[in-house]
């Protein structure tokens, strides 16, 4: 009889020990999980705020034959900064909503020496066009269709809606090069994304596909032109990332994405319509993500590897997030 009581006591003790382990996983610890170990969506009640800043220039393109080449015909030099406020909230353990509020800073420079032989004169003409202001705001909802388990990956569905809140037309037009640039694209888009992810600690693998749909919209493409209707070409993405923990708090993400960009449609006349068709691209995107308690600092460089009629310049992104 004593033996039976002793065994029951042992069972109870074991139960209480496992209960104590459950208690040890407290929310503040969960908020310190890294980009590799955290669930595909934020847990219920978690709120993440952050800032994402991207910098890029316009220097080279992939031409029709897929060759990386410099943009010729002009010495125009353009830079673009995007500063985004990034907000995410976990409504349930499976459903997350998020919003991105961008501020755009664009600059374009042109410089020419204009020679007028008939008047026996020449002059240096430099133009610096700027575009500063609120960009196109995005809202998104993500839902974990499958939650990750020991042997099963997670499956995430995400809908990303971008609204044309930024200034869509050029303003303060002096001439074709001297004006205030738009800070928005002037169109509404919906991006639908499906993403599988599996964690093999200290690694994780992600595979995703997405379709970006553009709604028909109206805007002025170049100064001096009339507003015309257009519909930008949709985009299909396929991507995969292989992520690894370099130590407990630094993760290296390696993402490769390829995309097909369908042709734009213009319902009017604009010099922006260059008859470009068959755009596609492949990008490599390494990222370093530092998780210091609830702070997450990340740095991404996007390198276009191959493509046709797309930009061939890298884009730098720096971000800082904090989970409340």
């Amino acid at each position: 009889m004593k033996k039976i009581w002793f065994q029951i006591c042992l069972l109870i003790m074991t139960g209480s020990i496992s209960g104590q382990i459950e208690e040890m996983i407290i929310p503040s610890d969960l908020k310190q999980q890294t980009v590799i170990t955290e669930p595909a969506t934020l847990r219920k009640g978690f709120f993440r705020i952050g800032t994402i800043n991207s910098y890029g220039t316009v220097d080279r393109i992939f031409d029709e034959s897929g060759k990386r080449t410099y943009i010729m015909g002009s010495n125009g030099w353009a830079t673009a900064w995007t500063h985004e406020a990034d907000l995410s909230y976990g409504i349930t353990d499976r459903l997350q909503v998020s919003a991105q509020l961008p501020y755009e800073r664009k600059k374009t420079f042109f410089s020419s020496e204009i020679i007028l032989p008939g008047f026996d004169t020449s002059q240096i003409h430099s133009v610096n066009s700027k575009g500063n202001g609120i960009g196109d705001i995005s809202v998104a909802a993500s839902y974990q269709i499958l939650k990750e388990e020991d042997r099963k990956p997670s499956l995430l569905a995400k809908i990303f809606l971008t609204l044309p809140t930024g200034r869509k037309n050029p303003t303060n037009v002096v001439n074709s090069r001297d004006f205030n640039m738009p800070t928005g694209n002037g169109e509404t888009t919906i991006d639908f994304r499906l993403q599988f992810r599996k964690i093999f600690y200290p690694y994780s693998v992600t595979v995703y596909t997405s379709y970006l749909y553009h709604f028909k919209a109206k805007k002025i493409f170049n100064p001096g032109e009339e507003e015309i209707s257009f519909r930008s070409g949709d985009m299909v993405y396929f991507g995969s990332s292989y992520n690894v923990h370099l130590n407990d708090w630094i993760a290296l993400l390696n993402e490769v994405a390829c995309y097909k960009w369908f042709d734009d449609k213009f319902y009017g006349s604009t010099t922006y319509d260059q008859g470009i068709t068959g755009r596609w691209g492949i990008c490599y995107q390494p990222a370093l993500v530092f998780q210091v308690r609830r702070f997450r600092f990340f740095e991404v460089i996007q390198f276009p590897l191959k493509g046709k009629f797309i930009s061939a310049d890298p884009v730098y992104t720096l971000g800082l997030q904090y989970t409340l």
């Binding site: 220097d59 015909g73 410089s111 020496e113 610096n128 460089i301």
Partner: protein, 358 residues
């Protein structure tokens, strides 16, 4: 007699370097690989192999004129970007003797201000791009470290030779012309020159570094002198436009690289065991050298540049270090100034047997 003395001195120095037991040799491989930034010597340890690589983005948007005034290249019409991928290996042959080898691959396209000629019935728009692309010289180095036997003070003397193993002569240009009949006859002339990075001649470098470490800080002073070791030869491409087609001819010319003095001061603060913040100031002065590319032997203008940098190093794991810096030019004469963002990784390995046995 002199050669005998030199021979004996060389043997004595080699004997000291091989047999001298520094404090580092008592440590195990793990301790050496996880040494904090402020505890490290200038060279790598005996048996340590270090592989450094990364990516460096330079935004060439500033120029210093002969008076030192800043010219905004974006407004001037000649801003550019350079993408550079460095690769460098260091190996500690002995605790006081390091071998190194390195090479860079880079690409940049520097535009010139457009020239737009407007006539009564014709317009010509001329643009020019100078592309620089490829591998530069292959660099080999040897660095001797003074056997002070202290972790606090370190001094090295190094010599490098930079060899022109890859072709340095520019490729045939790829100029183009397009004509359109608008209100006037509009002609777009695009000059596209394709240059390379190699110097075409061997370059010798001699330098020294001094480092002072405290438990929380390090100060590093570095200076070196480099010079071309012989006269070089390259080609200049000329072009003629004949019936809407460019025909190219090449002309040889000679040149001599000038001399260059580089110096740097670095202060490092070890904020946490795995995280160090690094502040640096570095300068370059170049002088001498000539070229007869114009048909006459013309000397190069002397140039100088001073830039400041802020960066950090993170020890991510036993073998991996991550470093990043941003450099901003703040003074100079006759030279371009680049905003440089450097991201690098350093992989480190130590052969325990080599470290202990040799």
């Amino acid at each position: 007699m002199k050669s005998k003395i030199f021979h004996k001195a060389f043997l004595l120095l080699t004997s000291i370097l091989v047999n001298y037991q520094s404090p580092a040799q008592d440590a195990d491989s793990y301790s050496l690989l996880t040494e904090r930034f402020v505890d490290r010597p200038i060279n790598v340890h005996r048996g340590q192999l270090q592989v450094n690589t990364g990516y460096e983005l330079s935004v060439l948007n500033k120029k210093f004129d002969p008076e030192g005034k800043v010219v905004n290249l974006a407004k001037d019409g000649s801003a550019a970007m350079q993408h550079l991928f460095p690769f460098n290996i260091r190996f500690g042959l002995l605790e006081h003797l390091q071998l190194s080898a390195g090479i860079n691959y880079a690409r940049a396209g520097i535009r010139e201000r457009n020239i737009w000629i407007i006539g009564y019935d014709a317009e010509v728009n001329i643009d020019e791009l100078n592309e620089y692309k490829g591998l530069d010289n292959l660099d080999f180095g040897l660095s001797f470290r003074a056997p002070f036997g202290s972790k606090r003070v370190d001094w090295t003397v190094y010599g490098n030779i930079s060899l022109p193993v890859f072709d340095h002569k520019p490729d045939q240009p790829n100029h183009s012309i397009n004509t359109a009949q608008l209100a006037t006859t509009y002609t777009q002339l695009s000059y596209y020159y394709r240059n390379k990075y190699g110097s075409g001649i061997p370059i010798g470098i001699l330098g020294t570094s001094f480092r002072f470490n405290t438990p929380g800080f390090s100060a590093i002073l570095n200076g070196n002198f480099s010079t071309g070791l012989k006269e070089g030869e390259s080609i200049l491409w000329r072009s003629n436009l004949e019936e809407h087609e460019f025909r190219y001819t090449q002309e040889k010319f000679s040149y001599e690289e000038g001399q260059q003095v580089d110096y740097a001061v670095m202060f490092a603060y070890q904020a946490i065991d795995w995280f160090a913040v690094i502040l640096s100031v570095h300068g370059t002065n170049s002088f001498g050298g000539w070229s007869n590319v114009t048909g006459k032997k013309v000397g190069y203008r002397s140039e100088n540049l001073i830039a400041g940098g802020l960066g950090y190093e993170i020890m991510a794991s036993t073998n991996l270090r991550i470093f990043q810096s941003i450099n901003i030019p703040f003074a100079g004469k006759n030279t371009m100034g680049s905003l440089i963002i450097h991201t690098g990784i350093s992989l480190n390995f130590i052969s325990a047997s080599y470290h202990n046995i040799l």
